[in-house]
Symmetry: C2
Subunit: 195 residues, 2 copies
């Protein structure tokens, strides 16, 4: 949470960065993803809002920082959709599964999935990110009146796939080669997105 980017920065800057990250944890926790503001986070950290933007860019970047998730689906999935559409479903499922095969992604990803579903106070933080950042950015690439529902259906199959393979570990799902899962699931994703 206090990863230093760049070298040789004076300790004061690193302290500010860590204070901002800690303040973000509290603000997200108290107000959820929607309710938390860069201004509120800056005030809690005792810094200027410009410094928050300097270190973390937008709110989605702060979220990535505090959840310590080594992946940016809100940037990656829209990027995939801007490529050729014919295999977009396939590339999305392959991206998701190959990412989750990496232990660092899987470990944090399972925690984030469990948090979203738990009904705990932290759940709205994850679901807020999903419905304010990830899904709208996917929907924006689709240019259809029902784009939000299409993006949400993709999320439903991706979530179910990750949960049954990596969390619940249904034997047939956990044992299946990635290529097999991609071949079976990609047509569903493709249809939800474009048909």
């Amino acid at each position: 949470m206090t990863t230093r980017r760049g070298r040789g920065r004076p300790p004061g800057e690193s302290d500010s960065r860590a204070r901002i990250a800690a303040a973000a944890v509290h603000e997200f926790g108290e107000h959820g993803y929607d309710g938390a503001t860069v201004r509120g986070i800056a005030a809690r950290a005792g810094v200027d809002p410009a410094l928050v933007h300097h270190y973390f860019g937008a709110k989605a970047d702060l979220f990535a920082e505090v959840t310590d998730f080594p992946l940016r689906p809100d940037l990656e999935v829209p990027r995939i959709l801007r490529g050729p559409r014919e295999q977009a479903g396939e590339r999305i499922i392959r991206f998701v599964l190959e990412s989750f095969e990496r232990p660092t992604v899987r470990k944090r990803g399972i925690i984030i999935l469990r948090t979203a579903i738990s009904g705990k106070l932290t759940a709205p933080l994850v679901t807020g990110f999903l419905s304010r950042e990830l899904l709208p950015r996917i929907a924006a690439e689709l240019d259809a009146p029902d784009a939000e529902l299409r993006a949400s259906l993709v999320a439903s199959q991706v979530a179910g796939l990750l949960i049954t393979r990596y969390v619940v570990k249904l034997p047939a799902m956990a044992d299946a080669p990635i290529d097999d899962l991609v071949a079976r699931v990609a047509p569903s994703i493709q249809r939800y997105l474009f048909d």
Copy 2:
């Protein structure tokens, strides 16, 4: 958990039934779905195993009793699959969604979904039921070498659908009419099962 079936039974019988149900909660909790046995449950309740079968039939019936879930997917979904195959995917999704629109099903269903995903000690109870009862019974209707994976893929989309609509409540999923969701998701289920 102590619902009385039939009327005018002497109190002793009702007591036995309640003791068996309570013993099942403990045995499932300690040994998981796979590890719990009717014999162990009978021993803990201080009754003959035949009495457990008399009140509850098989282990899956005991599971339905202790989870208090007013639905038997392990019986209903195979029944649907024994009907005409052309609309089996549609009928499964409609059955699932219409069931979850009933508050009693939804309330218990959300608890069971959360339990399965939670990583708590009770999680294997739910996942054990899924992989020992529900999925094999679906697979048995398919008559394909990859039947277990097919059934598990159906489970993945159904789980993702229920979680995004009823637990996480993504707005577009929660607002969509059931007919719309059925029309969009049924082809995926149909393909996972039969293509």
